[in-house]
Symmetry: C2
Subunit: 130 residues, 2 copies
C-alpha cells in the first residue's frame, strides 16, 4: 500500500497516515484480516519517526478500524465489529461539513452528487492491485 506524506501540510502526519490507511481499506488495497507493516519498518519507509506511526495506529485502534496485538502486529478489523457509538461519532463529523456545504450555496442535490461521486471514486478503484 502506497502512502504519500506531505510534511508541509497543516494536517498532522499521524492523521495523514491514518486517513490514507482508511482510504486504502475503502479501496480494498488492503483487506480485513491482513496486517499493517510494523511501526518500525513503516516509519523507515516513510522516513519519519517510529512514535508517529505508533500514534497513527493507536488512533486507528480507537476508531475500531484496526486491532493491535502486542508483540505481534496491527490487523485490519472486519466491518461487522463496529458499534452504534462509532456511527454517532461519524454523524458529528458530518454535521459541520454539511452545514458548510449548505452555507456556500450547494443545493441538496449537489451535496448528494458530491457524496455519490466520492463513493464511486472508492469503489471504482477496488479492483486495482496497487
Amino acid at each position: 500500500m502506497i502512502i504519500r506524506i506531505e510534511p508541509e501540510s497543516e494536517v498532522p502526519l499521524y492523521l495523514q497516515i491514518s486517513n490514507q490507511i482508511i482510504e486504502g481499506i475503502a479501496r480494498e488495497h488492503i483487506q480485513p484480516g491482513q496486517s499493517l507493516p510494523s511501526v518500525r519498518t513503516f516509519a523507515a519507509d516513510l522516513g519519519i519517526n517510529m512514535h508517529t506511526v505508533n500514534k497513527s495506529y493507536h488512533h486507528l485502534e480507537q476508531k475500531g478500524i484496526i486491532r493491535i496485538v502486542p508483540k505481534s502486529g496491527a490487523i485490519i478489523s472486519s466491518p461487522q465489529d463496529f458499534n452504534e457509538a462509532s456511527l454517532e461519532r461519524l454523524k458529528n463529523d458530518y454535521r459541520p461539513l454539511i452545514a458548510e456545504s449548505l452555507v456556500v450555496g450547494m443545493s441538496n442535490q449537489q451535496i448528494q452528487e458530491l457524496v455519490t461521486s466520492m463513493i464511486e471514486e472508492f469503489k471504482s478503484s477496488k479492483e486495482e492491485t496497487q
Copy 2:
C-alpha cells in the same frame, strides 16, 4: 444566536465557535447581510478571550463565509460569492469521512440517508426564530 461551548472538548474553542456560526447560517437563524456580535461582546457572552473569537472570525473569513470590515464589524456573506476553490476544499474534507463510513461497513445507501437526514435537520430548523 445561541452558541454552546464545551471547554473540555478536544475541538479547539475557535473551531467550535466557527462551526456553530456556520450551522446557525445553515439554519437561517442568522442571514447574509446581517452582522455578528463584536469580538468583545461575543467573548464576554461566552466567557472567553477576545482573541479567541477574533481567530474564529478570521477563520470564517478565510472560508469566505463572512466579510470583516475593519473598525466596523463582521458581516455574513452571500452564497453567490463563493468560488470553485472552496468547493475543492470541501471535497478534500469529505474524502476521509466517506472512506471511514465505507470502512465501518456503511452501505452506499446508508451514507446517502445519513447525509439526507442531516440536510433535513438543518432545513427543518429554518423557520424557528431562535
